[in-house]
Structure formats: structure tokens, C-alpha cells
């Protein structure tokens, strides 16, 4: 049910002509994914999904769309039309390959979730793992975010001639 909602909102997002409607459908899609994370007992990831993606990143996208005052996409005219056909064929092939890769090995995956799944999804467990085993990547991510902030300020400020 949630999966159907996720796929439907994703399809609507892609076919939507107006970028603002597209972003709103993307938010619906993110909420569906958050619910699926909850089904997988990943509470922390679900909350982060809503806060960071639906909260921060999508607000950023909406802000930029409104800043640029983009209208209907039909103004952006297509140059090559047969490229669309090739794109559909290519993505269809990729989907087929992924599905076959999932279905072919029938006994590869466990049917039930691991009994530990209740424990590892909590904020407490994630935090403990993050700060004990993954401290160096965590600090590297902080440096990456700092570099991104500086880069964005430079890019958005600069006046090209």
C-alpha cells in the first residue's frame, strides 16, 4: 500500500510539467519512504528522512524554483525527440536487469527480519555505533559540509562577466 503510494507519487513527480508540483510530489514520496523505514525498525533514519529531506532539501529546491520564477516546462523546447525513446528503452532495460537480479536467486535472502532489527534502529544504538566505530567518517562529513557551505557562498555570490 505504502509502496504503491511511493511509486505513484514518483511517477507523478516525473511526468509533472510544473516544477513546484513536482517537488510537492517528491515530498509525498519521501514521507512514504519514511513510513517504509519505520516498517524496517529504523526510527532514526525515518526521522532524519523527514527532517533533512522533506524539511531542508525540499525547502531549498522550492526556494530556488521560486527564486528563478520558472513557469511551465513546455517553454523548454525539445531538440531531439528520438533521444526520449532511447532513454525509455535504456531505463526499461536497467529495471528489467535489477528485477531479474532480485528474483533469480530465490533462497539468497532471509524471509524474516533479524531479531536484532528492533535494537539497531534506535537513536541510542545509531549514536553509539557512529561515535565508536565510525568517528573518522563522521568528522570527514563535517568537513565536507563546511566545504559545501563555503563553495555555495562563493558560487552564488560571484558575478560572471
Amino acid at each position: 500500500m505504502i509502496a504503491v503510494a511511493a511509486v505513484a507519487s514518483a511517477v507523478l513527480m516525473v511526468i509533472q510539467k510544473n516544477p513546484i508540483k513536482s517537488v510537492l510530489f517528491m515530498i509525498v514520496n519521501f514521507f512514504c519512504l519514511a513510513v517504509i523505514y519505520l516498517l524496517l525498525h529504523a526510527q532514526f533514519i525515518a526521522i532524519i528522512q523527514i527532517l533533512v529531506y522533506a524539511g531542508a532539501i525540499m525547502v531549498l529546491f522550492l526556494f530556488v524554483i521560486m527564486l528563478l520564477n520558472l513557469g511551465d516546462e513546455s517553454l523548454l523546447k525539445e531538440k531531439v525527440n528520438f533521444r526520449k525513446t532511447i532513454a525509455y528503452i535504456l531505463s526499461g532495460v536497467i529495471l528489467l536487469e535489477l528485477i531479474v537480479g532480485i528474483i533469480l536467486p530465490p533462497n539468497l535472502h532471509p524471509i524474516r527480519q533479524s531479531p536484532d532489527a528492533f535494537k539497531i534502529g534506535t537513536v541510542e544504538a545509531i549514536g553509539a555505533t557512529l561515535f565508536q566505530n565510525y568517528l573518522l567518517p563522521f568528522e570527514a562529513v563535517s568537513i565536507l559540509l563546511l566545504a559545501a557551505i563555503v563553495g555555495v557562498v562563493v558560487l552564488a555570490k560571484k558575478k560572471f562577466k
Binding site: A6, V7, A10, V11, M13, V14, P19, V23, M26, N29, F30, L33, I36, L39, A42, F44, I45, V52, Y53, A56, I57, L60, F61, V64, L68, L70, E73, L76, K77, K84, A87, Y88, S91, G92, L95, I99, I102, H109, P110, I111, R112, Q113, S114, D116, A117, I120, G121, I126, T129, L130, Y134, P137, V141, L144, A147, A148, V152, L155, A156, F160
Partner: protein, 106 residues
């Protein structure tokens, strides 16, 4: 048979992830609006996140969720930088049509 939520097989999660990823690819390849292309890339990242969380829950290993955390941080940085680039391109060329942006072509 009592089919509870914890008994949804792993394959279903992987299939949903594959479908979302393919929709993202369709979006990236067919849309001509740079911002929509960015959103579709975000959706592809999200589908991979779903795979990671599903494997993490089914194998009982927290490393997958830690990786999702890092992927989200990188996605936030990528979205911010990408949108800044879109803004500066729009300022110069007054368009977000990726067919007309060819300053990297030679």
C-alpha cells in the same frame, strides 16, 4: 498464515527500490529542466538508501544505517552546490534547459 509486517520478504523492498531507481533514471534522461534532474537524482539516492536500510534490518547489522546517514549528508551538500550552480547559470544564460547549457562542451 499470519502475515505480519515483519515478515515482508526482503525481495519486495529490493523490488520497490529498483522501481524507484528506474523512475529516477527516466526522469534524469527525459526531463530538460535542470532542477527536475536534480530531484530525480535525489530520488535515486533515496532508493539506494532504501536498499541499505532493508539489508541492515534483515542482516541485523547497523553499518547500513550509518551509511544511509552519510549518504544523506552528502546528498544535502550535493543539492546545495548543484542549486548554487543552477542559480549562477540562470543568472548568465536566463535558462535552466540543459540542452542549451553547453559551456562544458568543446
Amino acid at each position: 498464515m499470519n502475515f505480519t509486517l515483519t515478515e515482508i520478504p526482503l525481495n519486495y523492498y529490493l523490488a520497490l527500490s529498483a522501481i524507484l531507481f528506474s523512475i529516477g533514471i527516466v526522469g534524469v534522461l527525459t526531463r530538460r529542466n535542470a532542477i527536475i534532474v536534480f530531484i530525480c537524482i535525489e530520488m535515486m539516492l533515496n532508493s539506494v538508501n532504501l536498499t541499505l536500510v532493508a539489508f541492515s534490518a534483515f542482516l541485523g547489522n547497523p553499518a547500513g544505517q550509518i551509511l544511509v546517514f552519510f549518504v544523506m549528508a552528502v546528498a544535502a551538500a550535493e543539492a546545495a552546490v548543484g542549486l548554487a550552480i543552477v542559480i549562477s547559470i540562470f543568472r548568465n544564460k536566463m535558462t535552466v534547459n540543459i540542452d542549451e547549457i553547453n559551456i562544458m562542451k568543446w
